[in-house]
Amino acid sequence: MISKKRLSSLFASLIFLWATSFVPVSANTLVADLSLEEVAITTDFNGESLLLFGAVDNAYEDDIIVEFKGPALKIASRKKEQISGIWVNRQTVNWRNAPSFYHLFSTRAIDDFLSPEQQRELAIGYRNLGLRPQNSSLPAEGLNKWIEALNRNMVERGLWFQHDGGVTINRGVLFRAPVSLPANILPGDYDVRVLHIKGGKLIAEDRTSIQVAKRGIGAFIYQAAHEYSVFYGLFAIAFAVLAGWAAAAAFRKT
């Protein structure tokens, strides 16, 4: 699955490169990079701060948008209704392509320099992610309500976030955006897109990516639990029996 997805995105970017090679060469370049090559979820992991930085041409009066997007996982939204006094989950929407992480940084409020149509064209913002439910077909108005709710819930968990003023440009050339990844971040490939906007138009773009991966003992335990689950279960039981016996023995003497 993943390799197929990767292949298709590689293919898409190749087409993109081929297409852009016909566009007259402009002086607008944009280069972005991250201060880390990988985010390692180790035993003492409690979130990670990193810096997205780069160089841009003549951006004295312009704007920059940084989109940090995590892997699309199985995400379900649920709506509660009151049934004889008790709040019960009644409706479920399984999202087909909702990112598990979506942080958006910009030099100022995006609505101030891009119209809703322009934002849609550039696929900027959670409203323009093309979110679709997997199961039911909701009417457009109902769908919007669910998308707004998803955004609220994800913002509350720190997984989705929009930071106006999160990008600063220094002397029209250097830009930087501090990114803080919360502790509840999930492993996977994170894609970063940086857009240079001038007068409502995209004039330069760069993409990079970073892997968030479990490392160390935690990764080993996770792997053991998933790949050798029977042994893991038996080990957990043996560990508990031994620990219980040791505790009883230790406190019997005192």
Partner: protein, 304 residues
């Protein structure tokens, strides 16, 4: 110092985890209960996914039951024959419970069922315990009053498959303890508890077992039921976090020693009354959560 729990996939301060184990260990040492009914809701409250909380707590209860049963075994207070019948039922029930748990999780109703089970069963047990201990406290003030007949003959004694349980001094149908343990097994798997709080009173009042063999025998069967849940959840849902279980256990072992020391200073009926109040409070808190209008009627769940 924060620790990233590898299966729960949450980061918690190590002092919080050990402190939680210690605090609940203290209460369980003081009252002589397992403490699962306090630990599982607390873990969920602290952000551990419900499935991980329930499976991990089963793993921890294996350890606390082993350490508890040894003392009873030494004194010869375990009815192994009764235990064998109970654990057969318990294994069937807990296997069904694990299956039920994953179905409920898939349809998004597991939170509701966990909370409802807590409200109903803790509510009933807590209320009964409170009434009993109030009555006991009243009785100590007017000596001479004696409890009436404890062992009554009714329809349950007409059931087939009668078995003799020498240690428990009983001649009853094996179906009775089997179905009792099966029922408690289902609850164990769903609520993340050992089930002693239902099993112990049921063994005394329903089966008519003598009190001195009840705790050892119930602990004996809880080991197997929770081990079964640990194994099944490991294989089916990979939700057993033994790092979390180990840390909780570490705290609980120490807490239980201090709790036991405080416990011996209090009188039995006072202890039971206090425990009843805690049980009722947990039940009311969870019941309140179900009734009060949520801040947001929408919620999100990342299933992966």
């Amino acid at each position: 110092m924060y620790i990233y729990l590898p299966i729960a996939e949450v980061s918690m301060h190590i002092a919080v985890v050990i402190g939680l184990g210690g605090g609940i260990g203290f209460l369980s040492g003081m009252f002589g209960v397992g403490g699962g009914f306090l630990m599982t809701p607390m873990l969920i409250f602290l952000g551990v996914p419900p499935a991980v909380a329930v499976s991990t707590e089963a793993n921890q209860i294996v350890a606390s039951s082993v350490s508890g049963v040894l003392a009873h075994w030494r004194r010869g207070n375990v009815d192994f024959k009764m235990g064998a019948v109970l654990l057969t039922g318990g294994l069937v029930g807990s296997s069904l419970g694990v299956l039920l748990f994953s179905i409920l999780r898939d349809i998004g109703q597991i939170d509701l069922v966990i909370k409802l089970s807590y409200v109903v069963f803790l509510g009933i047990i807590g209320a009964l315990m409170l009434m009993e201990s109030v009555r006991a406290i009243m009785r100590t003030r007017q000596p001479g009053a004696r409890r009436s007949k404890m062992h009554q003959h009714n329809w349950m004694h007409g059931l087939p498959l009668k078995m003799r349980f020498r240690k428990s001094k009983l001649y009853i149908s094996a179906l009775l303890p089997f179905f009792l343990a099966a029922f408690v097994g289902v609850l164990s798997a769903i609520m993340g508890v050992g089930g002693g709080f239902i099993l112990v009173p049921a063994m005394i009042y329903l089966l008519g077992m003598p009190t001195y063999v009840v705790i050892g025998t119930s602990l004996f069967q809880i080991i197997f039921v929770t081990a079964n849940i640990t194994l099944l959840q490991s294989v089916q849902t990979q939700t057993v976090d033994f790092v979390l279980a180990g840390l909780l256990l570490f705290g609980a072992v120490i807490g239980a020693q201090f709790g036991a020391r405080v416990g011996v200073k209090l009188r039995g009926e006072q202890l039971r009354g206090l425990l009843a109040l805690i049980v009722l409070m947990v039940s009311l808190k969870l019941g309140f959560d179900l009734i009060v209008t949520p801040e947001d009627v929408f919620s999100v769940e990342i299933l992966k």
